[in-house]
């Protein structure tokens, strides 16, 4: 009970303190779709609808849209159960590795090369893109919240980027894994974990 109260109080204090960061200039903001590939999206129409809404919102606001897909075959000496799970899903159908139609890609989007690391920062292209475009605000979404989005979030804040996670545009390996991420772990690192509706209100304010 004491832990719960202390955690809640700390969370409230931090959220209040970080409010000043939540501005999203169009030329400094990107929405990053992490592993939004057919293999991970098709069984969940709710997630696809939310991701499509986020893609529309991003394009209507002039945000850069970045697609960061993962490769089917990890180049690692020691594949983990997560690697094997990802590989299995991406090998299930010929079009499974393709970017899901819910999010595009549209001609103005940037599609990063496929990577084999959990984190999107495993390839140098993302750092080069952030630097060349002067990006400071990343809005993250993706179906592998507990696997690749979590790793990418931690690496993004390490780089002094302002990071927002859109909770209804995230899925995970299980409902409890999703709860762990959205309720406990991500709020320790992301500047804001919020849903689409609140994000839209913030952008309008």
């Amino acid at each position: 009970m004491l832990n719960h109260l202390l955690n809640a109080a700390t969370g409230w204090y931090v959220r209040r303190g970080l409010r000043a960061y939540h501005h999203y200039p169009a030329d400094k903001t990107a929405v990053v779709f992490i592993d939004v590939q057919r293999a991970f999206i098709s069984p969940d129409p709710t997630l696809a609808v939310s991701l499509a809404s986020l893609a529309r919102l991003a394009r209507s606001r002039g945000f850069l849209v970045i697609h960061a897909p993962i490769a089917a075959h990890p180049h690692t000496s020691f594949p983990t159960p997560a690697h094997r799970e990802i590989e299995r899903a991406l090998s299930s159908l010929p079009d499974a590795p393709d970017i899901a139609s819910a999010v595009g890609p549209s001609p103005s989007d940037v599609v990063l090369p496929k990577r084999s690391t959990f984190s999107i920062f495993g390839l140098p292209e993302i750092d080069a893109l952030i630097e060349s475009r002067g990006l400071e605000h990343l809005i993250l979404a993706g179906p592998l919240g507990d696997l690749t989005l979590d790793s990418s979030l931690r690496d993004a804040v390490q780089r002094d980027l302002h990071v927002t996670v859109v909770s209804d545009c995230v899925a995970a390996s299980s409902p409890t894994a999703l709860e762990l991420e959205l309720r406990y772990t991500m709020p320790r690192y992301a500047h804001l974990v919020t849903d689409l509706e609140h994000l839209e209100r913030l952008l309008d304010s």
Partner: protein, 203 residues
């Protein structure tokens, strides 16, 4: 158990502020740390590693110091709290390692990590590479933040990662329990407990 020469025990953030009764956040850490006995277990793993000549590496969190985070534009929540609480203050009790888990001569002590992964922006990877390390056993604090982040980075860097469920602790039992049940078995190569690990080390 892999070849001892290629394996390192990595201790993440075994600071007094986390683990000492006088530490700043012991009040939050004690539920998990006392119920799973993580301090004694981490100490027994450390002793076994030293007895066998295994490389021991420390991955310390950024110690608070005046203007230590100057230049950062967007403090993340953990940094925001550190700036206000002065947790792990340099030169003070809280910023020193718990004496039972302190480094010895010959250990690697990496540069400090400012976010959560012991590898991010530090010299931990080159120091481990210089000793030919391919396998890591990661213990310390905190189950779902710096331990998990260090494991995630290690996997991305190509290491084989072993996580020890009762040699780590978190701020709340639910965070600890969910992390070791949900994330560790997916992102780690081996998830074990202290007694099984010590048995595999022949301790």
């Amino acid at each position: 158990m892999p070849d001892i020469k290629n394996t390192a025990l990595v201790l993440v953030d075994p600071y007094n502020d986390f683990l000492s009764r006088r530490g700043q956040v012991w009040l939050m850490m004690r539920n998990v740390a006392l119920s799973n006995g993580m301090i004694a277990k981490a100490r027994s793993i450390l002793k076994a590693a030293r007895d066998r000549g295994m490389t021991v590496a420390y991955a310390p969190h950024h110690r608070w110091r005046p203007n230590g985070l100057t230049g950062r534009k967007y403090l993340h929540p953990t940094q925001f709290m550190q700036e206000r609480s002065h947790i792990f203050a340099e030169g003070r009790f809280g910023g020193k390692f718990l004496s039972e888990l302190a480094p010895a001569d010959g250990d690697i002590i990496s540069s400090e990590h400012s976010c959560s992964s012991g590898f991010a922006g530090t010299d931990l990877h080159p120091q481990l590479q210089a000793r030919g390390i391919t396998h890591l056993i990661i213990i310390g604090l905190v189950t779902n933040s710096c331990i998990e982040a260090t494991a995630r980075s290690a996997v991305d860097l190509g290491y084989h990662v072993t996580l020890v469920t009762d040699a780590v602790a978190a701020f709340a039992p639910i965070e600890h329990d969910l992390a070791i049940r949900e994330n560790y078995p997916r992102i780690g190569h081996q998830v074990t407990d202290t007694s099984t690990l010590l048995e595999s080390m022949g301790a």
